[in-house]
């Protein structure tokens, strides 16, 4: 068990900067996701931690020991790959035992560890089979068991669920959470799937263009995105961004006046989660033109515009709004994020 300190890691491929001074601290036993769209540098960062890629500059420490110059095998970590990388020419047993065999563990220890890991992942019935006979989900279980069998200080996972079909992914996600909670291993998990990151992580680091945009608890990131990118990337539907005029430090939302952050110009961006609204009569509420109303069963999804800017909001399924209606909305002022129209950054002062 160990904490991980990622200290000003930079990585350039020629003129392209894949990582621009990324720093991140992961506590002992914590599950942290690196979340971002493809090309954001999350996999590169993971591979640098693993030792499969070299960084241009910066340091990585595991338990106060710098590992940046060490070979992957000397870093005390294990990894689960997107395409499983389960060895096809070895039985499931030998796959799970691989790391222990490389450590020259004696047979009794190998047997005990393999059986323990196999039990955690429910793959005991397949131990004598070859991976080719297994489904994608079972192969990924083998890959996770292989990683846990060596009792790593740090577990790295690179999009481990993205090759599975949707139903299986959900099932494996729940199971992964159970397994890793009981194992207590410090885990770094790379994904582009925000629901995976939200569901699994203690903290999420949202990455974009080689920079960590925000690190925090999933709910904190969801409710208070630090940047416009984070708000747009997390949540489905994404956060709405409405540019609104400011007069006398206040923003009008229908008849209600909302206090804007201090020292802003004539305009500000109002970041609004789709579900942080309720229906209100006009002209009391903020006017929204509904273009399409989609009853989803659990809720009602409305697509339309506020101040001629596209928005998506969610209302309880019981509301009866139709396509083409004009409605009024009351905004939950506690759940509004104010962002600078120039920098796209939120006003943290107001979050407190």
């Amino acid at each position: 068990m160990a904490n991980i300190v990622i200290d000003r890691i930079r990585k350039s491929f020629g003129a392209f900067q894949a990582l621009k001074e990324v720093s991140l601290t992961i506590n002992d036993g914590e599950f942290v996701s690196l979340l971002g769209p493809s090309g954001c540098g999350k996999t590169t960062l993971l591979r640098i931690i693993a030792g499969l890629e070299t960084s241009t500059s910066g340091d990585v420490r595991i338990g106060d020991r710098s590992i940046i110059g060490l070979a992957p095998k000397d870093r005390g970590l294990a990894m689960v790959f997107q395409n499983y990388a389960v060895f096809p020419h070895m039985t499931v047993y030998e796959n799970v035992a691989f790391g222990l065999r490389m450590q020259k563990a004696d047979d009794t220890r190998v047997k005990a560890q393999v059986e323990k890991a196999a039990g955690l992942l429910h793959i005991e019935p397949y131990l004598d089979r070859y991976p080719n006979k297994l489904s994608g989900g079972q192969r990924q279980r083998v890959a996770v068991a292989r990683a846990l069998a060596v009792q790593p200080k740090v577990l790295l996972m690179d999009e481990p669920l993205s090759n599975l079909d949707a139903l299986l992914r959900l099932e494996m996600r729940t199971e992964l959470k159970t397994v890793l909670q009981s194992a207590g291993t410090t885990t770094i998990y790379v994904t582009h799937d925000q629901t995976e990151a939200m569901g699994l992580s203690d903290r999420i680091a949202v990455m974009h263009n080689g920079v960590v945009e925000q690190v925090g608890h999933p709910v904190e990131i969801y409710n208070h995105p630090a940047t416009r990118f984070v708000g747009g990337f997390i949540g489905n539907p994404p956060m709405n961004f409405i540019k609104v005029p400011v007069s006398n430090g206040q923003v009008a939302a229908g008849e209600e006046q909302l206090a804007a952050p201090k020292d802003v110009g004539n305009e500000i961006v109002l970041g609004l989660r789709g579900e942080a609204v309720e229906l209100a009569p006009l002209p009391q509420g903020l006017e929204m033109k509904v273009r399409v109303a989609e009853p989803m069963g659990s809720h009602l999804l409305l697509t339309g515009s506020i101040h001629d800017q596209p928005v998506r909001v969610i209302l309880p399924a019981s509301e009866t709004v139709k396509s083409g209606d004009t409605i009024g909305l009351k905004l939950d002022s506690k759940r509004i994020t104010w962002l600078s129209p120039e920098s796209g950054k939120s006003f943290p002062a107001l979050l407190a």
Partner: protein, 283 residues
């Protein structure tokens, strides 16, 4: 489409089957008959004549020796080349292109190239002389220097025939996803362990193909030997050629041909058995 007309695939395959039957199976049957008959009656007289010939034992021994030395060296070199080139980023195609040049040279031409290097007035002697290693022309390819002749032939064969092995091995290596090696590396396998325990088992099908192809070709070695050693180094195909052309005895030549075929088939069967490729254990 083909479900309605199941005969279409057969129709499309027919020309090649007919072609092979006509130009392969018929001559094969004729050769076997020629080998195992005398004046129209089944007989082992030709085989007896082959076996009792002074060059028979030598040609068998030489061919096997050459195969046993050349094929493993070629496989080893091809594996090394394939592994090295897989680490190369830019210029990979150019390197592969240069490495495969020997593929485009006929074996007789290859033999002549090495002859020009190794003959008495060749480049090799000139080099040794200019370095002061030898005082006068040394002979490498005569019947008095059998070991030098063997080495010369082996080197020429290795130079000429490694490219095809490398092409097959590189194709095999390209099939192995890099994650297998990365996973092995993370779980503690060093470069040698990765090679023996991960890479080699995973390129087994390619290895099998390369071994079969190269071994069969090695048993058929002729032109390079003929160019460098003439009759100083008898090999099986060379003997078949001599019986056919010099001695005008088609029957004994046919026995040689059948013998070479049996050896090749046996080698292929041994490889198929020894390097059994289990589809269950492939990626």
């Amino acid at each position: 489409m083909t479900q309605n007309r199941p005969w279409i695939p057969y129709l499309l395959i027919l020309p090649s089957v007919a072609f092979l039957a006509l130009l392969f199976v018929v001559p094969l049957v004729q050769t076997i008959w020629l080998a195992l008959s005398d004046n129209g009656a089944p007989s082992l007289a030709n085989a007896e004549r082959m076996v009792t010939d002074i060059n028979f034992t030598r040609s068998v021994r030489n061919t096997f020796l050459l195969t046993i030395v050349v094929v493993p060296v070629q496989i080893a070199i091809a594996l090394a080349m394939g592994t090295m080139v897989s680490k190369v980023g830019r210029g990979r195609e150019t390197i592969l292109w240069i490495w495969t040049i020997p593929l485009g040279i006929s074996d007789l031409a290859a033999g002549l190239v090495w002859l020009s290097i190794l003959q008495n007035t060749g480049y090799f002697n000139s080099l040794l002389f200019s370095l002061g290693v030898i005082g006068r022309q040394a002979s490498w390819l005569s019947y008095q220097t059998p070991i030098a002749l063997f080495i010369a032939i082996a080197v020429a064969e290795i130079w000429r025939g490694t490219a095809i092995v490398m092409v097959i091995i590189v194709a095999g290596l390209n099939q192995v996803p890099k994650e297998f090696k990365e996973a092995a590396e993370i779980f503690g396998a060093g470069p040698w362990t990765r090679f023996w325990r991960i890479t080699l088992p995973l390129i087994r099908p390619a290895l099998q193909s390369a071994l079969i192809l190269r071994t069969v070709l090695a048993f058929e070695v002729f032109a390079v030997v003929y160019a460098l050693g003439g009759r100083n180094f008898p090999v099986l195909v060379g003997e078949a050629y001599n019986w056919q052309n010099q001695n005008q005895n088609y029957s004994v030549a046919a026995v040689y041909a059948v013998l070479i075929m049996i050896i090749s088939l046996a080698a292929t069967l041994i490889y198929l058995k020894a390097l059994k490729v289990d589809p269950e254990r492939l990626p």
